[in-house]
């Protein structure tokens, strides 16, 4: 089985704002197109024009309705590997193909040593691993490890493809181990939370909950209406009948 590094220098990850995700799937397809030609190439698709089209996608969005004490409405929920601090998907790996990087905490699969046994996908409670049927190996979010350090692309674009594409700005990337990073500050300010915290895998990625709608409702002080008599129309005309100039 595979061991985890004692600690990582950084904890790179994503912060996903459920308050503004509109469920557009830009992150889904930008991830697919980057990664099918990148580190994980290819992400194969079976029956692409047939009865049951299915392929490896490293990021998916689910939309559903909720109605609970905190929240009532439709949720768009993007789901990908959370790059947990203590993930079982790594420790169950019989070949060391699944590993967590010491330098940045990214969880990766080495396709050269993965035997496609799928133990990791059974271990992951988030359903974040994707078996590639054609290649016979496991694929997963790499946090675009081949973008974020890539010196051949402009510095401002060295973020995961999903973050670059997201039209509403619902996705942010950064070091969640650094309390002063923008992502950490935002998580603190917005009560960011862990997905299925009770499992204890300590996900690095965080989700930001919807803001309370009441925070945005203008506070209107009731003002006494002037005491005038007559119909609404008469009152309006009396009010409008003041000197107005162009």
């Amino acid at each position: 089985m595979t061991t985890l590094p004692e600690k990582t220098d950084k904890s790179l990850g994503l912060v996903i704002d459920l308050d503004i995700c509109v469920g557009c799937h830009a992150c889904v397809t930008s991830c697919k197109e980057w990664n099918t030609g990148g580190y994980s190439a290819p992400l194969t698709d079976q029956e692409p024009y047939g009865a049951d089209p299915h392929g490896a996608f490293l990021n998916r969005v689910h939309s559903y309705e909720v109605d609970n004490d905190h929240w009532k409405g439709t949720v768009h929920f993007p789901r990908s590997c959370l790059h947990c601090e203590t993930p079982d998907c790594v420790t169950v790996c019989p070949t060391g193909a699944s590993y967590k990087r010491e330098e940045d905490g990214i969880v990766l699969v080495n396709p050269d040593t993965c035997i496609g046994c799928k133990l990791c996908s059974w271990a992951c409670p988030y359903g974040a691993r994707e078996y590639d049927y054609d290649e016979g190996v496991m694929k997963k979010c790499t946090l675009c490890v081949d973008r974020i350090y890539n010196e051949t692309i402009p510095e401002e674009d060295r973020v995961p493809a999903c973050v670059k594409a997201c039209p509403t700005g619902a996705r942010a990337f950064g070091d969640l181990a650094d309390p002063n990073s923008a992502v950490s500050q935002n998580v603190a300010a917005r009560d960011g939370f862990n997905l299925l915290d009770e499992f204890g895998y300590k996900p690095v990625n965080k989700y930001l909950p919807p803001r309370k709608a009441s925070d945005r409702t203008p506070q209107i002080a009731a003002e006494p209406q002037a005491e005038t008599t007559g119909s609404a129309l008469e009152k309006l005309f009396a009010w409008a009948d003041r000197a107005l100039s162009r």
Partner: protein, 953 residues
């Protein structure tokens, strides 16, 4: 085991990056297309991302744009010109050369032009080059041209342009950076894509309030702070009640109304007379107001007066007249617009209406924005500040696709105007070249006298009638256009009625045609109302066994459901293989503070025998020797094809398709001589051009002297006059007066009541027609496109169809309980013309009187390169089969188009249905498979990207 293997983290994305413009929908975002060579030496698209410098998308890219690779490499792409060799629909084609195809087309089109040009109907669908296609049709001389606006958004365009000289979406935008209160009407997941998503992200991060008015709570509506789950088609009642509340509580920007609108203009009250309801005018034709300063009548357009908003006045001729403001107040303070009166019908509780009205007023007047930015008004007076009312709105499909959409759209703009927010900081802002005049000084052409063999039309087809004198009629007063556009049936149909063309041609009502020529519109499937009827029309034969529509030419890039019904196929390229021009003459991509246009250019060479449609059209223009397409000696005017046209065509001296880098040295913007390097300069700049406005020109542009003058200098405005917002629309009253018997041009008797009622110069609400004319259909049925397929045909896209390959009918949980169905059960949905069987999903976030589904997911067997057992075919369905293109017979027996009575906008959201549990599974109707004899095998597996992993040979 531990240890991280060394991995390559700095591999170049590709060998080359080229910038062009996306075409997966109508937003026209800037894209960076990365190309990479594989071991076979072939350059393949590796990655498409947003261009950070582009004004539309600023670096981001939606789910469609990011899946563009699969669109580009789709196996459903057409490969060569084809002529039909089997019956229509059989899919039996023979591939032919371009020479042969163009010869056939030239023969057909040339013959019609020599005899009766109106026997050509040329309709382009999701065309982004209407300034070229319209110009071509004009030079050809047929009156029968339009694009898809008649079933898309003409109510929004016309509603805005007749009111304030702009419109939602392409002609304006909320002030995303400053607005504090945003209302979104009838915008599901679409129109627009990235710009609205970017905007909503900004609002939410700033803490601005977002209110969504929509029967369905998905997409943008799901993240709104307040959801108003309105009943479809009742938005006008809801907005009327908001206006009622503003009037009742006296929270209206009177200064704004007096300065910038026709609120003080006097309306003649002379019942029964030919001038009743028109503006009182002075000897020079200026509208009159009562000037309190002078104690006399004054010129309604003058500055330095104090116009009265109230008071009945006796005019010099003895008639009385009242200001628009009074008439408006009477209309909206009427009991029928009181919140408690509309609550039940709209489904919006009285308290919620009152609260929203109070919030709108509070934000507009108590949270006003003051920018220390001097500007000069139209009369030359200097102001040291710009005062903004930070309330803004956006509306689209849910308003436009109803038969009351024009008046409802006008009402939403009136709400914004009463709050004083249009083109002020934080409000709704114009995008240049808007504002235009109200209505624009652009008249339609194509009346009977204008159509002559071998002669061009006197002007563009589409425009904005100011009264009955601008209708396009034949000698008998009947429609002169095949679609009955600009006739009494649809007098201000500024985008035409593409949805009526095929059926009118087949019934020869108003006349038969010889050639139907279409581009990029899936009219044999999801773009038509009443698909079975449309298929019958496309295949109808006369007594001789000949097709009633004798010849059909169609250009598409993919094997869509429409291709098999055409006789001659002109295969188009994908968006990465083509030139295009996103022109200010057409549908601009400007931002509020930026005049912008753009191009597409081929970033990949076609690997098939296909040509861009515009390239082909220019070639056909030269072969037909159309004026404007040939030189005096008869040789082609644009031998270099579309790029030659884009560079060298001039609509007026100095004004051409592109505004950037004009002049011989490329140093002129907007106006200047053609520049042979222009396209190269666009390519260097990322395929777009942007010219920033002076900050003092950024707001109040309807009356901003600096902007108005600058606009004339740049060729984007015609008149130095301000744009005066028309709360009361006099052109409407002119049509109404005709219906009352005044004037030379008279409607047929059957149309009189319809025109009298609906051409109300003050917007009002009326029940959608289908609801008025049918009974027994208690539910509304509407559709939306999923965001990842908005405005595009995504079903052949291997990645997008993994997200959505089947549509369900979404039904309110309580309705499910009523009819005893649960998720995944099958139901019959029945309208007055037919029924479909579909699978349901229950939800809470939908108006309980409404069912809805994803549009255009259902596909016909044989099309799009999909297997015959694809979910799109087996379980997918269309509501189009239930929507009639004609209304049921009303009084008098005449069947009008199922459209807005003013604009002719297709009223496909008026659909009413009933729902029943079905006993068996499987969608219905299931049409016969389209032939696909000549189609290659579809791949069983895709491994896109593997080519770059394989070692070079």
């Amino acid at each position: 085991m531990t240890g991280s293997p060394e991995i390559e983290t700095s591999a170049p994305v590709g060998d080359e990056m080229k910038q062009t413009t996306c075409y997966m929908c109508a937003c026209r975002c800037g894209i960076n297309v990365h190309l990479k060579t594989g071991p076979d030496g072939k350059q393949v698209v590796r990655y498409i991302e947003g261009n950070r410098n582009h004004p539309v998308n600023k670096g981001v890219l939606c789910g469609k744009g990011s899946a563009g690779i699969m669109q580009h490499y789709s196996p459903a792409r057409l490969r060569a010109p084809m002529k039909r060799v089997g019956p229509r629909g059989s899919g039996q084609f023979e591939e032919i050369s371009w020479d042969e195809a163009l010869e056939i087309a030239t023969g057909w089109l040339g013959k019609v032009r020599k005899t009766d040009p109106k026997k050509l109907a040329f309709f382009t669908g999701r065309d982004q080059s209407q300034s070229l296609t319209g110009f071509w049709a004009m030079k050809y001389g047929t009156p029968n041209f339009a694009a898809h606006g008649g079933f898309c958004s003409v109510n929004m365009a016309a509603g805005g342009l007749y009111t304030f000289g702009g419109a939602f979406w392409e002609f304006g935008d909320p002030d995303w950076d400053l607005t504090k209160y945003f209302m979104l009407f009838g915008v599901a997941e679409d129109h627009a894509s990235n710009p609205i998503k970017i905007g909503i992200g900004k609002l939410k991060k700033r803490g601005a309030k977002v209110v969504s008015v929509n029967p369905v709570r998905t997409g943008y509506n799901a993240v709104a702070d307040e959801w108003v789950g309105i009943r479809p088609g009742t938005d006008g009642l809801f907005v009327g009640a908001l206006i009622h509340e503003l009037f009742r509580t006296q929270q209206i920007d009177l200064d704004y109304l007096v300065r910038y609108t026709n609120a003080p203009w006097l309306v003649i009250k002379d019942p029964g007379a030919a001038d009743d309801g028109l503006f009182a005018r002075d000897g020079d034709g200026n509208p009159m107001v009562w000037d309190e300063a002078a104690g006399a009548f004054g010129n309604g357009k003058a500055a330095e007066i104090r116009p009265a908003l109230t008071g009945t006045r006796e005019l010099p001729d003895g008639c009385t007249a009242r200001p628009v403001f009074e008439l408006m107040a009477e209309r909206y303070l009427g009991d029928n617009y009181a919140p408690e009166a509309v609550a039940e019908r709209t489904g919006v509780p009285t308290e919620q209406i009152r609260q929203i009205a109070a919030e709108l007023a509070h934000v507009a007047f108590k949270e006003e924005i003051v920018l220390d930015r001097p500007w000069t008004d139209w009369a030359g007076r200097k102001h040291d500040k710009m005062i903004g009312r930070p309330v803004s709105m956006h509306a689209m499909r849910g308003i436009s696709a109803h038969s009351n959409g024009f008046q409802t759209c006008r009402m939403i703009h009136i709400l914004q105007i009463l709050l004083g927010s249009i083109d002020t900081p934080g409000g709704f802002r114009y995008k240049p070249p808007y504002p235009k005049q109200t209505p624009p000084n652009l008249l339609p052409h194509g009346a009977a006298g204008d159509i002559k063999p071998e002669l061009p039309l006197g002007g563009p087809h589409l425009g904005f009638p100011h009264g009955p004198e601008h209708l396009l009629l034949d000698g008998e007063g009947q429609p002169n256009r095949l679609d009955k556009g600009f006739s009494w049936d649809a007098p201000i149909s500024a985008h035409g009625l593409m949805h009526m063309v095929i059926n009118n041609a087949a019934t020869k009502d108003p006349y038969g045609i010889d050639v139907l020529f279409m581009y990029m519109a899936n009219m044999a499937w999801n773009s038509s109302m009443n698909v079975p009827g449309t298929l019958d029309a496309l295949t109808a034969k006369d007594d001789n066994g000949d097709y009633v529509i004798p010849k059909i030419i169609y250009s598409d890039a993919y094997y869509s459901e429409t291709v098999p019904f055409a006789d001659l196929i002109l295969p188009d390229t994908t968006y990465l293989e083509r030139y295009d021009c996103i022109s200010l003459l057409d549908r601009p991509i400007s931002e509020p503070e930026l005049v912008a246009d753009g191009i597409r250019h081929p970033v990949v060479k076609p690997d098939r025998d296909v040509r861009g449609f515009q390239e082909v059209l220019i070639d056909l223009g030269a072969r037909l020797k159309l004026p404007g397409f040939v030189k005096e000696d008869g040789s082609p005017m644009y031998p270099g094809g579309y790029p030659d046209y884009i560079t060298n065509h001039e609509r007026k001296p100095g004004i051409g398709p592109l505004a950037g880098w004009r002049g011989e040295d490329g140093d002129k913007s907007c106006v200047g001589a053609p520049n042979s390097d222009q396209i190269d300069r666009y390519i260097e700049n990322g395929a777009f051009f942007g010219l920033h406005l002076d900050p003092s020109h950024a707001y109040f542009r309807f009356a901003n002297r600096g902007y108005l003058d600058w606009g004339i200098e740049k060729g984007i405005r015609l008149s130095p006059e301000p744009t005066i917002m028309q709360l009361y629309s006099e052109p409407m009253q002119k049509f109404r007066l005709a219906a009352l018997g005044h004037g030379e041009r008279q409607p047929p008797d059957r149309a009189r009541d319809r025109i009298k009622t609906h051409f109300d110069p003050l917007p009002f609400w009326y029940a959608p027609f289908e609801e008025q004319l049918t009974t027994g259909f208690p539910l509304h049925a509407i559709t939306q496109r999923p965001m990842h397929m908005y405005h595009s045909w995504g079903s052949q896209n291997a990645w997008l169809r993994q997200i959505t390959a089947q549509n369900r009918l979404y039904v309110h949980t309580s309705v499910g309980v009523e009819i005893g169905v649960q998720d995944d059960d099958w139901v019959w949905l029945t309208s007055h013309i037919g029924r479909v069987k579909c699978q349901i999903r229950l939800m809470e976030g939908v108006n309980r009187h409404t069912v809805w589904t994803w549009n255009a997911i259902g596909k016909r067997r044989g099309a799009w390169g999909l297997s015959h057992d694809a979910p799109e075919v087996k379980e997918g369905f269309l509501l189009n089969h239930l929507i009639s293109e004609l209304l049921p017979k009303g009084g008098g027996g005449y069947r009008y188009s199922n459209s807005d009575p003013l604009t002719g906008q297709a009223a496909w959201f008026d659909l009413r249905v009933k729902i029943e549990k079905a006993e068996s599974a499987g969608t219905s109707p299931l049409f016969e498979p389209l032939g696909e004899d000549a189609w290659p095998e579809r791949p069983e597996t895709l491994a896109f990207g593997r080519q770059w992993k394989e070692p070079a040979e």
